[in-house]
């Protein structure tokens, strides 16, 4: 099949970029989207042009490296699927496919489709953990965790930190990301001692990074390749308000 790629090209963080068209004449429908970009890049290299820079690593939808906005949809048209798991059979012959990087003030563009997502790391550093010194842990069965709580924690812990929620949100908000981690840790009994400080510090860090606010549009959940539920955002709000009013710091 044939497709036209319209890719955002930007040679550096401070350069201005533009969309550039590339004609792909021999696309195998069984290729993944990234494999198609590989083919394009091989061609560009041999033509002496700069290949398209994009983040990718595991290519099985779990590391969270890849991510591009494809025709206005983060990770493309298939739900619950990362870009690396998106296959060309999802598209039709003759399609024009617009490929852009995540757009967010908190995720500055490094090159082409590569953005800097260290803001997420700084949010986790601010409190997205349970403090337990190595070797000091009590016997694992000394504290039971009700299965529904464990399942809820797991559902939220599935977040791969790709940033699609931010890319999809009309406000560029990272609430879904933060809410997933707060939900994961705050519903577990192990997470209780730091329950208030965690959410207060993480929200403070989130705001400092320059993400927008949540207006409950739900775009984040719809774009999330792991289906982190919007209910997590309600939980984050509740945890934050509760912690703020508790006076604990």
């Amino acid at each position: 099949m044939k497709v036209t790629l319209r890719i955002w090209r930007q040679s550096g963080p401070d350069e201005s970029g533009k969309l550039v068209d590339y004609q792909m004449d021999d696309v195998n429908p069984d290729m993944s989207f990234l494999e198609m970009l590989d083919v394009l890049n091989e061609r560009l290299i041999l033509n002496g042009e700069a290949p398209v820079a994009f983040d990718h690593d595991c290519r099985e939808g779990i590391c969270g490296s890849c991510g591009m906005v494809i025709n206005g949809m983060p990770h493309g048209p298939q739900t619950l699927t990362t870009t690396c798991q998106l296959h060309m059979r999802t598209f039709s012959d003759g399609d024009v496919i617009v490929v852009e990087p995540w757009r967010s003030a908190a995720f500055p563009i490094i090159k082409d489709l590569v953005v800097d997502r260290t803001a997420f790391d700084r949010i986790i550093q601010s409190g997205g953990y349970i403090s337990v010194a190595t070797g000091s842990a009590p016997e694992a069965h000394s504290q039971l965790v009700p299965k529904p709580d464990a399942d809820l924690a797991f559902e939220n812990a599935e977040c791969i930190g790709c940033g699609a929620c931010v890319a999809a949100c009309p406000n560029g908000s990272s609430m879904l990301f933060v809410s997933a981690k707060v939900s994961h840790l705050n519903v577990l009994p192990q997470g209780q001692p730091e329950r208030e400080t965690r959410v207060l510090r993480m929200v403070e860090a989130m705001d400092l990074e320059g993400f927008g606010g949540c207006t409950n549009t739900g775009e984040c959940t719809n774009a999330c390749p792991k289906g982190i539920p919007q209910a997590s955002i309600a939980r984050l709000n509740r945890e934050y308000l509760r912690a703020s009013l508790s006076g604990r710091r």
Binding site: E35, D121, A137, A140, F154
Partner: protein, 657 residues
């Protein structure tokens, strides 16, 4: 003593010389159960007030690296940590699916530290060091406690207790899991612990930064050269000790289940600086991966082995049969595993299932594109259990398969093919996880230590975390307390030499400006290795590979084309640099495979098999770990043997017929 093997073609000698045997002096003697306790007690301690003065470099942030960085930072050392990914959370440990073993015996099914130790030694086909493996089994218990306290959401029963399952052909249920994402959850736990130390200022994190060389001063590892992948700036980092946690080298095969950017550069360049490389020929192949769909294939995806519990594996009886599977009648199908191994059937171990698939494909009976695949059929299971039951048990795997192949496995049998999955070999380390370069510690998949010739399912996660959380911290303290190091200078001749060598290599890569892409070389190398040093190896094939690799390397340096400059984000340059290392390392891999004229674990030599076609070990001649000393690219390395003593477990042959 010296022996030279020359290649059959009679060109330049490809061979090796034999040096002195290597002895692990770090492990205490005496009862195996108390060795680790005694080692820890004997270890010298660093005064907590002095720890801040010690800088430790950790390269890699997978399970081993992140847990080590977090623990060392917490203990007060100044840790400088690196990863090539944009965030430490993305290291490839994240992709591990199955689970993590621990001798908790929560099921009261007869499990114990001793049994885990025994299973691991036997599973490793008697090519691992007993002391190390016993320690791993001991520490496994603590790992679960640690991870649970960190909030890792392991699967639980309705009682609130942790759930476990049996895995990888062992008879006890000792595998803890978090659905099919155990690696992700454990890594996030370690990443969060590491993040806490970064926030506390104990760990200085350098993401998107790749190690290029090891700096050795006065025989000790004192720093690394690393490149900032965003700006291209090459910098020198000095420290009192260097820890490599950079994972395995499976990507030398191009197509593997490893992440695209996983590479062997750190361990290979350390090897070139004097660290011995041990048992590189021990590579593990996983039988249930999704086959390639064409030449564009960039990596392979693994599906849980549990599929073999209910799926039946078959190929057409007739070679070259291109009919769709539903038009091949029952009597024209060959359920070859059930036929050859009637008692184990579709559940034979990984290596046996993999080789059998290769054999039928070699006979021209493979299915799918290129004839490289076999059917994994759930039709019987669906008839027996009903589609709902199958969906409940395997639904997420079926979805994954459909997402990748576009085929509905409820209607059409899945196609599977083996793929490189894990590498047991790695840098040689002693009981203290220290390489032959003092001050250079190697942990996780990057070292060779615990799995022998074959790794058991759910043991990789266990080893990574054992090394990082519990084993490395006391032994590295012992080194630092005794080493009496003088301050190392970024302007020392050794550091400058390493810096120059690294930058020159990058400049050379950019200067070739040939007519082939880096990936084209990687694909060719991978195909060569897969053909001659893959699931089954023989002398003639290995010699062919050994003759071809230097030519390919030569061609690479003549014809590779790397666009752009070194002073920017240049993914082609990163790739070419890694491939240049693979092209050197591959030669040692094949040489090791050639020299080990026995079959064991993941290394199958066609010359060494039982009449039934099973792997035949040669304990008389090969009960040793082969540690290779680098002497120059293309020049014969020196083999140092570490003789393995089996005092606790008696040598026995595996049998699955």
């Amino acid at each position: 003593m010296s022996e030279i093997i020359t290649n059959g073609a009679g060109t330049a000698p490809i061979g090796y010389t034999v040096g002195e045997d290597l002895v692990d002096r770090a492990a205490p003697d005496g009862p195996i159960e108390t060795r680790w306790t005694r080692r820890k007690f004997a270890a010298k301690l660093v005064n907590p007030a002095n720890r801040r003065k010690h800088r430790i470099i950790v390269v890699g942030t997978g399970l081993a690296g992140a847990s080590a960085g977090a623990t060392l930072g917490e203990q007060g050392y100044k840790v400088i940590q690196f990863c090539y990914q944009d965030s430490p959370r993305r290291a490839h440990s994240i992709a591990a699916q199955g689970g993590i073993n621990a001798a908790k015996n929560y099921r009261n099914d007869g499990d114990s530290v001793r049994r885990l130790f025994y299973d691991t030694i036997k599973g490793g086909d008697f090519r691992a060091r007993e002391s190390n493996v016993h320690r791993l089994a001991e520490v496994s218990v603590q790992i679960i406690d640690q991870c649970v306290a960190q909030g890792v959401p392991f699967a639980r029963e309705y009682s609130g207790l942790l759930d476990t399952r049996s895995f990888g052909g062992v008879q006890v249920q000792r595998t803890f899991y978090a659905r099919g994402q155990t690696g992700q959850q454990l890594l996030l736990g370690a990443y969060q612990a590491l993040s806490r130390q970064i926030d506390a200022g104990n760990v200085e994190m350098h993401p998107r930064t790749e190690m290029l060389d090891l700096i050795v001063i006065d025989g000790r590892a004192r720093g690394i050269i690393a490149r900032d992948l965003v700006t291209g700036k090459v910098s020198t980092y000095m420290a009192d000790a260097v820890v490599l946690a950079t994972g395995g080298y499976g990507n030398v095969f191009y197509l593997s289940t490893n992440a695209k950017n996983s590479n062997a550069s750190a361990i290979w360049r350390a090897c070139k600086r004097g660290a011995y490389m041990a048992n590189p020929c021990y590579t593990q192949i996983h039988p249930t991966c999704i086959p390639r769909s064409g030449d564009h294939q960039s990596k392979l995806t693994l599906m849980s082995e549990s599929l073999r519990n209910d799926g039946r594996i078959w190929v057409p009886k007739k070679a070259g049969d291109t009919r769709p599977p539903d038009q091949i009648p029952e009597h024209e199908r060959d359920y070859y595993l059930e036929r050859i191994y009637p008692s184990f059937g579709n559940l034979v171990p990984r290596d046996i299932a993999s080789r059998a698939a290769k054999n039928v494909c070699d006979e021209g009976r493979g299915v799918g594109p290129g004839g490289l695949g076999v059917y994994l059929d759930f039709a019987d299971a669906i008839r027996r259990m009903g589609e709902d039951k199958v969906r409940e048990k395997y639904g997420n795997l079926f979805e994954m398969y459909e997402r990748i192949t576009g085929e509905n496995p409820y209607k059409v049998p899945m196609r599977i093919y083996p793929a490189i999955h894990y590498t047991m070999g790695g840098l040689w380390v002693d009981y203290d996880l220290q390489s032959t370069v003092p001050g250079l510690f190697v942990i996780g998949e990057a070292n060779f230590s615990d799995h022998g010739a074959n790794r058991l399912g759910a043991s990789a996660l266990m080893q990574g975390l054992a090394d990082g959380y519990f084993v490395l911290p006391p032994v590295i303290g012992n080194y630092l307390a005794q080493a009496k190091l003088v301050p190392a200078d970024v302007d020392s001749p050794e550091a400058r030499e390493a810096y120059d060598r690294s930058t020159e290599r990058l400049e050379r890569l950019l200067a070739v400006n040939g007519d082939r892409t880096p990936d084209s070389f990687h694909r060719e190398l991978g195909q060569l290795l897969w053909d001659y040093c893959g699931m089954a190896r023989n002398e003639a094939g290995l010699r062919k590979a050994l003759a071809r690799i230097p030519e390919l390397r030569e061609e690479f340096w003549q014809r590779v084309k790397v666009p752009g400059t070194g002073a920017e984000l240049n993914q082609s340059l990163e790739k070419a640099n890694r491939i240049s290392d693979f092209l050197e390392f591959a030669e040692l891999l094949c040489l090791d495979a050639l020299h080990r004229a026995e079959s064991c674990g993941g290394h199958f030599r066609e010359e060494s098999q039982t009449p039934d076609g099973e792997a035949l070990r040669d304990d008389e001649n090969f009960a040793y770990a082969a540690a290779w000393e680098f002497t120059g690219v293309g020049s014969p390395p020196v083999l140092h043997r570490e003789q393995l003593k089996f005092e606790e477990v008696h040598l026995a042959q595996r049998s699955y017929a």
